[in-house]
C-alpha cells in the first residue's frame, strides 16, 4: 500500500468518527437540557482526560499489532500504591513517583514477556491483569484507601489561567505522544512494527527493544493516569479502574485505528475518546445506569467496525 492510499484511507475516516461525535452531541443536546451547557462541556472534557491518558499509549500498542488488557488493572494498582505512599510519607511527589514506578514495572514485565518470551500480547496482559488486580485486592483487603493529602485532590479540581489542570496535563500528554509518533525515529519504528516488522529486522533495529519501549510507555502513562484518578476520587479503590481498558480500546476502535496491519491514527483516538466521553455523559444525564452504558459503548464499537468493514470492501 503506497503512502498516498494510506493517507487517503485515513482522510476517508475523518467523517466517520467526527460524524458519530457530532450526531451524539446533537441527540443529547435535544434530549437532555443539561447537556449543551458550558459547565457540562467542561465536565466532559475533564472526565475524558483519564481515558485519553490510557488510550494514547494503547493506540501505539495496537499499532504494533499488540494489545494491553492490563492497563485498567495497572491504573488501579498504581492508584492504590500512590494513595498508600501519600498516606505513609505525606509527600505527593514521592507518591506520584511510586505510581510511575508501578506502571514502569508492569509495562516492563508486559514488554519482556511479549518481546523476549514470545508470549502473545493478549494472553500476557490478561495474565498481568490478573496479577495487578490480585495485588490491588491483597494490598487493600478490598477496602478503599482514604484520607490522602488535600494537595493531591487539587490536581484534579485546580485550574491554571482558567483552564482545568487535568485538561492541561492531558493536552501535554497528547502533544508528547504526537511528537513521539510522528516526529521521532521511535514513531517510525512503531509504524513499522505493525505493518513491516521484517523491514525493521533487515535494517538492524532491535524489534524486541522497540516493543518493550512501547509497553513501558503504556505502563508509565497508566501510572500518570493514576495521579488524575486518585485526585478525582480523592481516594483509591481496588476496583476503580477495572474495565477502563475496555473504554480505551473502544475509543481507539471508534477512532479508526485498525487492529491489523498497524494503521494507527492519533487524532482519531482523541476524537474516539471524546465520543465515548460524550456518550457516557449523555447517558448519565438521561439517568441510564452505567451497566447499560457499557453495552451502548460496545454497540457503538460494533457499528463502527461494521462501517469500517463495509468501507474496506469497497
Amino acid at each position: 500500500m503506497s503512502t498516498h492510499t494510506l493517507v487517503s484511507a485515513q482522510l476517508a475516516r475523518v467523517p466517520g468518527v467526527a460524524i458519530a461525535l457530532i450526531a451524539l452531541c446533537g441527540i443529547f443536546a435535544v434530549t437532555s437540557p443539561g447537556f449543551a451547557t458550558p459547565a457540562n462541556i467542561a465536565n466532559i472534557l475533564t472526565q475524558s482526560t483519564i481515558l485519553l491518558l490510557l488510550a494514547l499509549p494503547m493506540t501505539l500498542i495496537i499499532m504494533t499489532e499488540g494489545l494491553d488488557l492490563s492497563i485498567g488493572a495497572v491504573l488501579t494498582f498504581s492508584s492504590i500504591v500512590l494513595a498508600i505512599t501519600a498516606l505513609a510519607t505525606g509527600s505527593p511527589a514521592l507518591a506520584f513517583l511510586a505510581a510511575l514506578a508501578v506502571g514502569l514495572c508492569f509495562g516492563l514485565a508486559n514488554g519482556v514477556l511479549i518481546a523476549v518470551f514470545d508470549i502473545p500480547p493478549f494472553i500476557t496482559t490478561l495474565g498481568t491483569l490478573g496479577i495487578a488486580q490480585g495485588l490491588s485486592l491483597v494490598v487493600t483487603d478490598g477496602q478503599s484507601v482514604v484520607g490522602i493529602p488535600r494537595s493531591i485532590e487539587a490536581i484534579y479540581s485546580g485550574t491554571a489561567a482558567g483552564i482545568p489542570l487535568p485538561i492541561i496535563l492531558a493536552a501535554l500528554a497528547y502533544a508528547l505522544t504526537h511528537t513521539l509518533l510522528y516526529h521521532t525515529r521511535f514513531g517510525t519504528y512503531v509504524f513499522a512494527l505493525g505493518g513491516n516488522r521484517e523491514a525493521l529486522k533487515v535494517a538492524g533495529i532491535s524489534v524486541r527493544g522497540m516493543l518493550i519501549r512501547v509497553y513501558v510507555f503504556g505502563g508509565l502513562m497508566a501510572g500518570f493516569a493514576a495521579l488524575l484518578m486518585t485526585a478525582r476520587l480523592n481516594s483509591a479503590h481496588p476496583t476503580a479502574g477495572i474495565g477502563m481498558e475496555f473504554d480505551a480500546i473502544a475509543a481507539i476502535a471508534v477512532g479508526g485505528t485498525s487492529f491489523e496491519r498497524g494503521n494507527g491514527w492519533l487524532l482519531g483516538t482523541l476524537l474516539g475518546v471524546l465520543t465515548v466521553g460524550v456518550l457516557r455523559n449523555g447517558l448519565n444525564l438521561l439517568a441510564v445506569p452505567s451497566s447499560a452504558q457499557v453495552a451502548c459503548i460496545g454497540a457503538l464499537v460494533i457499528i463502527a467496525l461494521f462501517i469500517d468493514g463495509l468501507r474496506g470492501e469497497q
Binding site: I123, T124, G130, I131, V138, I249, I302, F306
Partner: protein, 324 residues
C-alpha cells in the same frame, strides 16, 4: 541438509512426547494432592473430594467448549459473562413459569445465541477473536447488571436443583454431566471430519481453506459450542447455589482459560485435546481448593491464576520453539 531421518522420526517422538506431557500433568496433580493432604487435614475428606470433583466438572464444562475455540487459534473471553447472563435469564424463566425444563432451554439457548454472535463478529466482521469476545464480555456484563439491577433470584424447584447438588450412587450429578460431555467432546474432536477440520484450521488456516474446509462455518460452530457450554455451566451453578446474581461466573473466565492451557492445548491452535482440558481443570481446581483450605485470602486467586496462565503459555512457546 540431510534431515530426512529426523523428519521420519518426528511423528513417533511427538507422540511419545504427548504421552509424557500428559503423564507430567497427572503427576503434577498427584504431587499437589499429596502436598495438600500433608498440609491440611480436610483435603482428603470425602466432603472435600466431592467438592473438588463438582468444581472440576463445572470448570471443565466451561473449558471444554473453549478448548475447541483455542484449537482454532482463537479465544473466547466472554464465557464468564455469558454464564452470568444465561444463568440470570434461566433463573427468571424458572421463576416466571415454574418449569425447570423451560429454564434449562433458556439458559442453553441464551449461551448459544451469544456464542453465535461471537462467531459472526469473528468471521463476518473479521475482528480478532480476543477483541470481539472481550467486547462481548463487557456488553454481556452491562446487560446482565442492567437486567438484574442488583437483585438476586433464589429458590428453585428441588428437581432442578438435583442437577447441581444431587447425587447418584454417591457421585455428584455434575460429574456425570462432565463425563458425558467429555465423551462427546473427545469423540467429536478426534473422530469426526468436523473435529479434524477444526484442528486443521488451527494448524494452518490458509492450507485448511485451500483443501476445502469451510473455515468460516467451522469457526462460527466452535464459538457457538463454547457459548452453549457456558449456558449449560450456568445451569449447574444455579442448581448448586440455588440463586442467581449479576456476578455469577464472572471469576470463572480466567480459571477456564488456564485449565485449557495447562491441559496442553496450544494457544497457537492445532494441538491439544478435550481430555487434556479435564486434567487442566482438575489441576486448577486442586490449586484453588488448596488455597482455600490453607486459608489463603481469596484475593490471591486471580493473581495465582494469572501466573499459572503465563507459565503455561511460556512452556507452550518453548515447546513449539524446540519443535521448530
Amino acid at each position: 541438509m540431510s534431515t530426512a531421518p529426523d523428519k521420519v522420526a518426528v511423528p513417533r517422538l511427538a507422540l511419545s512426547g504427548d504421552v509424557m506431557q500428559t503423564l507430567y500433568r497427572v503427576l503434577a496433580v498427584v504431587l499437589l494432592s499429596v502436598a495438600l493432604a500433608t498440609l491440611s487435614d480436610v483435603f482428603l475428606t470425602a466432603n472435600n473430594i466431592l467438592n473438588v470433583l463438582r468444581q472440576t466438572a463445572l470448570l471443565f464444562l466451561m473449558a471444554s467448549g473453549l478448548t475447541l475455540v483455542i484449537l482454532t487459534a482463537g479465544l473466547d473471553l466472554s464465557i464468564g459473562a455469558n454464564v452470568a447472563l444465561s444463568g440470570c435469564l434461566a433463573a427468571s424463566v424458572i421463576k416466571l413459569t415454574g418449569s425447570p425444563l423451560l429454564g434449562v432451554a433458556t439458559g442453553i439457548a441464551c449461551g448459544l445465541v451469544v456464542g453465535f454472535a461471537n462467531g459472526v463478529l469473528v468471521t463476518a466482521l473479521r475482528i480478532p477473536s480476543f477483541i470481539a469476545t472481550y467486547g462481548m464480555m463487557w456488553i454481556l456484563t452491562g446487560v446482565t447488571y442492567y437486567y438484574m439491577a442488583g437483585e438476586t433470584i433464589h429458590g428453585f424447584p428441588s428437581g432442578f436443583r438435583q442437577l447441581g447438588s444431587g447425587y447418584l450412587f454417591g457421585v455428584p450429578m455434575p460429574v456425570y454431566v462432565m463425563v458425558v460431555f467429555l465423551a462427546i467432546g473427545a469423540l467429536f474432536a478426534q473422530r469426526t471430519v468436523w473435529g479434524q477440520q477444526i484442528y486443521a484450521i488451527g494448524a494452518n488456516p490458509v492450507a485448511a481453506r485451500l483443501s476445502g474446509v469451510p473455515v468460516e462455518r467451522r469457526l462460527v460452530l466452535v464459538y457457538t459450542v463454547s457459548g452453549a457450554m457456558a449456558g449449560l455451566a450456568s445451569l449447574i451453578i444455579l442448581a448448586r447455589i440455588n440463586s442467581a446474581q449479576g456476578d455469577i461466573g464472572e471469576e470463572l473466565t480466567l480459571p477456564a482459560i488456564a485449565a485449557v492451557l495447562v491441559g496442553g492445548t496450544s494457544l497457537f491452535g492445532g494441538s491439544g485435546t478435550v481430555a487434556g482440558t479435564l486434567i487442566g481443570a482438575l489441576l486448577l481446581t486442586v490449586v484453588l481448593n488448596g488455597m482455600n483450605l490453607l486459608q489463603i485470602n481469596s484475593s490471591w486467586q486471580p493473581l495465582a491464576t494469572g501466573i499459572i496462565i503465563l507459565l503455561a503459555v511460556w512452556i507452550d512457546t518453548r515447546t513449539r520453539r524446540i519443535g521448530e
